[in-house]
């Protein structure tokens, strides 16, 4: 190293990473890093790794300590001032229930995932980057839970999010997504989480939730968002670095990476359908429609990215066109499903109000009035007659993404998209061509999937009936956490806070 007046950031970071690494003398490298080869990825020279964030540990602790001091001061002020009373509408809290049970545990899963792969690379730069991100993810999981814990004192359904994440039927969608990534090899994990999720799709998760919080007066969650943003920029940089590194190291990596991009784009798209529903139906004050978000954050930003990646011989994700075409439909189809299964959710569901139906019609001129509004109006009429519809039959889940088979064919929004395949004399069912293909590539992995509906029917989730599964195995307080928002204790409490008299039945919706 040439002598300069003082070390610059790059040199400091080099000391922290590579120059503290050593060549093993009495153990074989392949024994120390046994997972580095089996995926078929070829690394010619780890020195080609460009450190995505040059942050030393002492600086990290200093920054994060000050950041969190600020953050927790705002949480305290929020709690002392009864910040929950300033949100736009009591229904808003249901987005937080979804976030706390669906997303915050993913941050924890990401922590575990990065801590694990951070052990698996023989390149020290990549090891340190993963360890740093692991700590970020752990902090995010904790700060999210603290940001939302105040709501647990005033609203139902927030009391046992980690257990629900492990057990509840639809929460197996996010859970299995991360389990799939964490049980893959280290390079696939980084392609899945750092690149596909943190870089390509992150704006479709983070922006809707954090802007949603801002639009709906939830200052605690907004402040968490700001505090996390400077970390997210680092994570996105790691996502770009890993993909460039893999593609530049060896041309044999290109087809492997392409297959991972195809897979993880689709897995992420299916996972984000939960966000689509949150944006279009669960936020009382809307930020933008799912379709608009998809166009800005995927079609435009992703389009520019994949145009640049073409230079590496990478093409856009295989099922991108199916995802683009689905932007007019998925939120409506998913909310319809959750509405029907509102007896089995840890949050409330409802028929959108008249002005919300009009907003949806305006945002989705090609699809909403034609396919979805009549359905909501029909259910609304039933509800007004005192016959709120709940579907008593458990849904068929996709073997890969674990979303019920509820989405439709690209060319026909009235026909369910359903595929199946036979493997070792068993028939497996899928929501789409893409999920079926993911299964066909690795059948031995996906036949082990823990599908909640199958598990309930096999008696592995308590019982014998559905209410006992919900209360004993899922820890739902029946009649408080689940069912329609209308008539719920949450609604009653919100009306008391706001001094609103209960509406007559006829005025509901």
């Amino acid at each position: 190293m040439t002598a300069t007046k003082k070390l610059n950031l790059k040199q400091k970071y080099q000391y922290l990473t590579r120059d503290m690494d050593w060549e093993p003398s009495y153990q074989k490298k392949s024994d120390i890093f046994p997972q580095e080869d089996f995926e078929g990825i070829k690394i010619v020279d780890w020195d080609g790794w460009e450190d995505p964030f040059r942050l030393t540990m002492d600086a990290y602790w200093k920054y994060q300590a000050e950041k969190e001091k600020k953050l927790y001061a705002i949480f305290d002020a929020f709690a002392q001032n009864n910040g929950h009373q300033n949100i736009s509408d009591g229904r808003y809290v249901n987005s937080l229930k979804l976030f706390l049970s669906g997303v915050s545990p993913l941050e924890y899963a990401a922590f575990q995932g990065y801590a694990k792969v951070g052990r698996q690379f023989s390149g020290a730069g990549a090891r340190v980057a993963c360890q740093m991100q692991a700590i970020d993810e752990l902090r995010h999981s904790q700060t999210q839970q603290h940001a939302m814990s105040h709501y647990n004192k005033h609203f139902n359904g927030l009391h046992d999010a980690p257990l629900m994440h492990d057990r509840v039927w639809f929460l197996s969608v996010p859970k299995s997504f991360f389990d799939d990534a964490r049980s893959a090899g280290p390079f696939e994990f980084l392609t899945a989480i750092s690149f596909s999720f943190e870089y390509v799709l992150t704006n479709l998760l983070f922006v809707p939730f954090m802007s949603g919080a801002a639009y709906n007066g939830d200052m605690a969650t907004v402040t968490f968002g700001f505090s996390a943003q400077s970390d997210e920029a680092r994570h996105m940089t790691l996502g770009l670095e890993i993909i460039k590194f893999l593609l530049e190291q060896h041309e044999d990596n290109v087809p492997i990476v392409q297959k991972w991009i195809d897979k993880w784009f689709w897995r992420g798209f299916r996972l984000l359908s939960l966000v689509s529903m949150m944006m279009d139906y669960m936020l009382p004050n809307k930020v933008m429609s799912w379709q608009e978000a998809w166009e800005v954050y995927y079609e435009q930003s992703g389009g520019a990215l994949f145009k640049d990646l073409e230079r590496y011989g990478i093409r856009p994700p295989k099922y991108q066109d199916v995802a683009n075409a689905a932007k007019e439909h998925i939120s409506h189809q998913l909310w319809s499903t959750f509405y029907q299964y509102g007896q089995a959710t840890n949050f409330h569901t409802w028929i959108p109000k008249k002005e919300e139906l009009d907003w949806l019609a305006e945002k989705y001129p090609n699809s909403f009035d034609k396919y979805y509004r009549p359905r909501f109006e029909h259910w609304d009429a039933l509800q007004k007659k005192g016959e709120r519809f709940y579907n008593p039959t458990l849904p068929q889940l996709c073997q890969v993404c674990q979303v019920p088979v509820l989405f439709t064919e690209t060319d026909d929004p009235t026909a369910f998209s359903h595929r199946d395949t036979v493997y070792k004399e068993e028939r497996y069912h899928f929501c789409s061509e893409a999920c079926c293909e993911i299964f066909d590539n690795e059948p031995e992995k996906y036949i082990q999937a823990w599908l909640p509906v199958h598990q309930i029917y096999q008696g592995n989730c308590g019982g014998p009936d559905l209410p006992s599964v919900l209360s004993d195995y899922y820890h739902f307080n029946l009649g408080e956490d689940n069912l329609d928002f209308s008539g719920s204790p949450d609604e009653k409490r919100w009306n008391e806070i706001k001094g609103i008299k209960p509406l007559d039945k006829d005025d509901v919706a």
Partner: protein, 352 residues
């Protein structure tokens, strides 16, 4: 009011106007600084102020901590300056950058040559010799035009008392219009230089590929003449693209150089010569000529590109698909602040 900001560790200097952020000014003047969000929330562009007065602007209190503010950190995307300032940024020092000082010169037109129907060679003699690195450019003040215009130097640094420029007549362009239509031998013009980060990285091993299009031959010409004068022994391959034989200029110069120097290959390519029975050379675009010559394998080379943006873009794609990547590709390029905000560009590449 304009202040000078010195960027350490490279020592590059930029002029920052009142109210302009350091990042805007740097990117507009071709000095790359790390950045991402552009509005003070992600902290990617954090820099240290070593000397001078800086206003931190609208930096988020989560992106720029109080303790960091006390330590003189600012975010380049929000910070404005209130005096001449020295900053330190997280950028790499280029070992081959000599950091030669920019000076003002008076130039007298000594010769005007018709290189092609659209390109003139302008030879200027300077009031004193200029030190520059082959590949760098000067800013020329042309009568009747606001602001200076950048032109690459085509002569090698060994002839520092003169400056040779290749100027294409841009239709409707006032400066190139003046140069083509009114400029006379004996006229004097002010110019300043040298500028730019386009020069041969001599410390980096690997054979050299030059891809030039149109009047973009100027920098490669200077670089190749310099390399040959210095007796560089690496293999040098020059691809020159033009529409037709008339537009292909200085071909004789490089043909004879290639005959004299066994390490130089010269491959001209004409993209509008389908019907030219006379033309025995490559027919097609210049990046296609490179593909054919190297059989789509460019690994272990260093590539230097100079030409119009579509040519640069096609050449980068060809090189990358032939396994030559960003760190081995150099070009003269101005990055504007719009590059960061423009949705049409991803953050995948830093400088290409």
């Amino acid at each position: 009011m304009t202040y000078t900001v010195t960027v350490e560790p490279t020592g590059e200097q930029i002029e920052v106007e009142e109210g302009q952020t350091i990042l805007q000014a740097a990117l507009r003047q071709g000095v790359w600084l790390p950045f991402a969000c552009g509005h003070g929330t992600c902290a990617t562009c954090k820099i240290t102020v070593l000397d001078g007065d800086v206003d931190v602007g609208e930096a988020s209190s989560f992106a720029l901590m109080d303790s960091e503010r006390d330590d003189g950190k600012v975010l380049a995307c929000c910070a404005t300056v209130e005096s001449d300032v020295t900053i330190e940024a997280d950028i790499d020092v280029d070992d081959d950058f000599e950091g030669l000082p920019v000076e003002d010169f008076t130039a007298t037109v000594s010769k005007i040559v018709d290189l092609s129907p659209t390109i003139k060679g302008i030879h200027l003699s300077l009031d004193r010799a200029m030190s520059f690195q082959a590949g760098q450019y000067i800013n020329l003040n042309v009568p009747g035009c606001d602001g200076a215009r950048a032109f690459s130097i085509a002569n090698p640094p060994s002839k520092g008392h003169e400056v040779e420029l290749h100027v294409r007549h841009v239709i409707g362009g006032s400066a190139t219009g003046y140069i083509h239509e009114q400029l006379k031998v004996g006229e004097t013009l002010p110019l300043s230089g040298p500028y730019g980060q386009f020069f041969v990285r001599s410390s980096q091993p690997g054979n050299l590929i030059f891809i030039a299009g149109g009047s973009g031959l100027s920098s490669p010409q200077s670089m190749i003449l310099d390399l040959l004068e210095k007796g560089d022994e690496r293999q040098i391959t020059l691809f020159q693209g033009a529409r037709n034989q008339e537009e292909l200029y200085n071909a004789d110069l490089f043909t004879s150089l290639a005959e004299k120097h066994s390490n130089l290959s010269y491959i001209p390519a004409l993209n509008d010569a389908e019907d030219d029975a006379d033309w025995k050379g490559f027919k097609g675009f210049v990046h296609q000529a490179a593909n054919t010559h190297f059989d789509n394998r460019f690994a272990n080379h260093k590539a230097y590109l100079c030409g119009p943006p579509p040519m640069i873009d096609a050449a980068i794609t060809a090189l990358m698909q032939g396994r030559l990547f960003e760190k081995d590709i150099f070009m003269e390029k101005f990055i504007t602040a719009a590059d960061g905000a423009d949705g049409q560009r991803s953050a995948l590449f830093k400088k290409i």
